[in-house]
Amino acid sequence: MVLVRVKALDRKTITQLLVVLIIFSLLPFVLGFNTYYIYLAAQVVLTAIMALAWNIIGGYAGQLDLAATAYLGIGGAISGLLLAFYKITPWIGMPLGALAAIGLAVMVGYPTFRFGIKEVWYALLTASLVVIIQRIFWLIYGSTEIYLPYFEWSWYYLRFGRYEPLYYMLVVMLVFVLWLNIVIKRSKLGYYLAAIREDELAAEALGIDVRRYKLYALMIYAGILGFVGGIYVSLTSIVTYRMFNPWLAIVIAVIGLVGGLGSITGVLTAAVILRSIEEYLRGTLGATIPGLYLLIYGLLIVLVGVLKPEGLGGLIESIRRRFRGGSYG
């Protein structure tokens, strides 16, 4: 049985993907190739990739996963440590990182779904997972930051004196993840996941192997993050236990929720807007009022949740409908 059949996308979707690609590709020109701004733009794109990867497990399958940084960190640690200690190219490190992240996802996801852990317990378990991996990494490597070797311009080692190459790699990844989101949403797997999200018991009664498809969604999500982890450490130049950041994982889930569960445009918009506001506030008021952007995230999600309790996605969905007819997928 073919779960995800890659069909030729219709012209409208291809146009939309191309528009995203062109807008993000032109951004460095608008920003005047300013190193700091390019770095921030890369962070925004990275957040969008993470939120869209989360969309597959959180939005489509409806599992409130809070372990995004465990998978990102595992991928980053493997790719980064191979480069720092053995001079192995990230082009090998990144697929290995993705495999390790998928391995971790299976190790944790299999028993978790097998024992029917969901809702709050799933959220807690995944939040704990980030801290567990962080502490294990800390026990092995301690608090020292491991620096990646410096190269002025090396595609082989993915190390550059500038941020543009990494930025463009992230943009390519973003378009790939968008494409993956669209393909999955329209596939058999996508419909299974939607059924599971809406009513797990009913889905099971219809003969859907709930455990298996939840695990598939988790593996895809972990694989993307594990791969991107390699680009992430190249961007920050260091491997540290702080990569396994439980707060960032929560922020990613919040972005996914504010963006609207399963809504591709919503999640992309939320990631870009929220992360840009965050960087702006950090740049202007960060010194006087630390954590202001998180305060705003908090207020936003409480307001959306309390005022629109029938679904967080609904708000953005209805606004979007008012402004434009179509959407991705």
Partner: protein, 290 residues
Amino acid sequence: MVVEPALVVESLINGVLNGLLYALVALGLALIFGVMDIINFAHGDFVMLGTYFTYIVATALLVDPTLTVFITVPLFFLLGIAIYRAVIQPILGSEPLIQIAVTVGLLMILRNTALAIFHAEPRGVPFTVFNIPLHIGPITIVLSRVVAGVISLALLFTMHLLLTRTTWGITVRATADDREAAQLMGINIRKVYAVTFGLGIALTAIAASLIMTFSRADPYVGLLYGLLSWVIVAMGGLGGVIGVLYSGLILGIIESLGMTLISAGARELFLYLTFLIIIWLRPRGLFARR
């Protein structure tokens, strides 16, 4: 590896004392979750807020942190009712994802307000009368830990009696068992919920004042206490105060022994690994919500 027996005994005693305090920290959450079926992710950050209020009151009045409860507990009770009315009531009975999202938002508001006001530097109370080391042979225990453990145990016991021996307790337990039936018996559900939430939050203020006798207020501790409380609730199931007490003790002992025998920096590792194993091995029926 040779481990001194005295060290193990000391670690065990500390684990038991900590475990009692952890049970107290989790008690408010267990009450709110058990009675109202509300998933409160912000619980740990109420504890964090409590430590700051304790710090403010203790510094302003120059009293021992344990005495601040006379101000912070009524304040937190009212705060709890206010938050219940503004944020919790609208999401009663809505799907878990919404409840988690909204209380995560609440958590972010609490934590970052504290961060905005106090910045990231931890604050300690000016003094506490309980900061005295007790020497019993080769074992050394700090008095403040003993006080925190004993007060926690007393409060847990009081709460147990309140829930099992008073009319109010019967009302609360009836509401927890069957909301509709309780309503038909003439119980004012909204009032029970508001008071339960207020009480659950007020309990964090007491726990916070005890924490402040040996620790400092820090905007980042919320996550630890929040996850810790949920771990205890998960382990105790909905087994009432006794379940919470046993779970707290088990976690306290595992954490203390792990820190002594393996590494003090890996504190969270022992807590969450225990959680992972327990949540996997416990039959799903005990975790499934009605």
